[in-house]
Symmetry: C2
Subunit: 230 residues, 2 copies
DNA sequence: GCGATATAATTAGGAGTCCTAACCTTCACC
DNA sequence: GGTGAAGGTTAGGACTCCTAATTATATCGC
């Protein structure tokens, strides 16, 4: 007998929510798109699974849990802002409780320090130790296998693909599915397609520099969201 | 005090493996690529997280665990071959034990039947019940939010993106990172770029039909892997 | 100023995911 | 017909992530 309980044993309620949602896609009059969309999602799912697996393997190897790895990497690449537990939780879409746990064990291992923030003593300022920085350096290669496969693909296609993925993330952000997205497309400093007939058609008003597709950022430290229009 | 044990409390060994791997990317002489690759991976990570979250939400709503949902959907779209536990395990990259558990609870809920296979009575033939098919129908909308965002993007870019994602999956397959991939690019019937100057440059030797980028399959029921060349 | 409320973080406890190890059964081969 | 391999199940353990309750601090209202 299986040992799980809630998902396995609870009799299924008559799914009132299921009824509401069941027709929602078919109702939109889509022109020949859904099949293609289906395929893209399936492909993303496969890649998603690859990422999870690679991260898990790194976790076993390094004796750090997946969240701990991600936290370490995040901290090592966001040195300018003083990170706090709640912020990290939002970043990774976890509850503060889960994050707190991960941070506590990183501290126990001497990879980061937790000091009360000067401006708000409820909050904790998180900082990597030297040891933590060294670990983060090694861990940053967890997706190495993906890197190697990507390295074989042509630059121009990759630039296009990046643009596509960012556009998709933007759409998800606007739909409220993603709450944190520091990408150019959702930034108040971004001016799309202002340099016509140029290799670098977009522009960043903060850096005052033209941007090519491949310059678009996924996680810009200077990102400021567009003012809510509604 | 955190309650986790291995990842949290075990002192980190001097990571012999870490040393080996640490320099592997930097050593390849890459021309201006790594930054772009980095970004693509970061974007894929974000989307990966979205997928996991959506699946989890569907799980809570439907009182089915994520694996159970994926199993149901898989069975409903692979009716032609008689599925077995081990096959599903390999499909999802799980151990047979994990899969067996999920199947057992689906059976307990009356969503599928397990009957000994006629040709091998160790094996179990899995078949959805009518109730299971109805559930699968509803569950197939778990990625609805992603569909809605995708629906806003232009067809041509999506076709390009699909091609790119499939090429990446192919590279991962050849690298051995992915073990199951029923995509055209890894199929013995696939003939890439045989129809020059055509909207549909590729060809499927099984269906004997030209294929456009958007016709490429992610999960073809007729897929047969290319013969191992080594 | 001081109490009420809100917020940052932690702790405790529980369900789910996924694994390894051990086992049973059936098949296949000699 | 026995031995080893393969399909599957069970048991048990570690990790992920959650909710709820708690503590400490900040902020707001009077």
């Amino acid at each position: 007998m299986p040992k799980t309980e809630i998902f396995n044993l609870t009799p299924r309620p008559p799914s009132p929510l299921g009824e509401e949602r069941s027709g929602s896609r078919g109702m939109r009059g889509e022109r020949s798109g859904p099949d293609l969309d289906e395929k893209i999602i399936a492909a993303l799912e496969r890649l998603s699974h690859v990422l999870r697996t690679l991260l898990w393997e790194e976790a076993v190897e390094s004796r750090l849990s997946p969240i701990q790895i991600q936290t370490l990497i995040y901290l090592s690449s966001h040195t300018r802002d003083l990170c706090r537990v709640g912020q990290l939780a939002q970043e990774f879409g976890l509850t503060p409780a889960t994050m707190s746990d991960a941070v506590a064990s990183l501290e126990a291992k001497g990879l980061l320090t937790r000091t009360p923030a000067h401006d708000d003593r409820r909050a904790q300022t998180l900082r990597l130790t030297a040891k933590g920085r060294r670990s983060a350096e090694k861990l940053s290669h967890w997706a190495e296998a993906l890197h190697e496969s990507l390295a074989q693909l042509p630059q121009t296609e990759k630039a296009q693909a990046l643009k596509f993925l960012l556009t998709l993330i933007e759409a998800l952000y606007r739909a409220g599915v993603i709450t944190v997205a520091r990408i150019c497309l959702t930034c108040r400093f971004f001016r799309p397609n202002v340099h016509r007939n140029s290799q670098a058609p977009h522009h960043c008003a903060l850096m005052d520099k033209p941007l090519a597709e491949r310059d678009l950022r996924v996680d810009c430290p200077e990102h400021e969201p567009v003012a809510a229009s509604s």
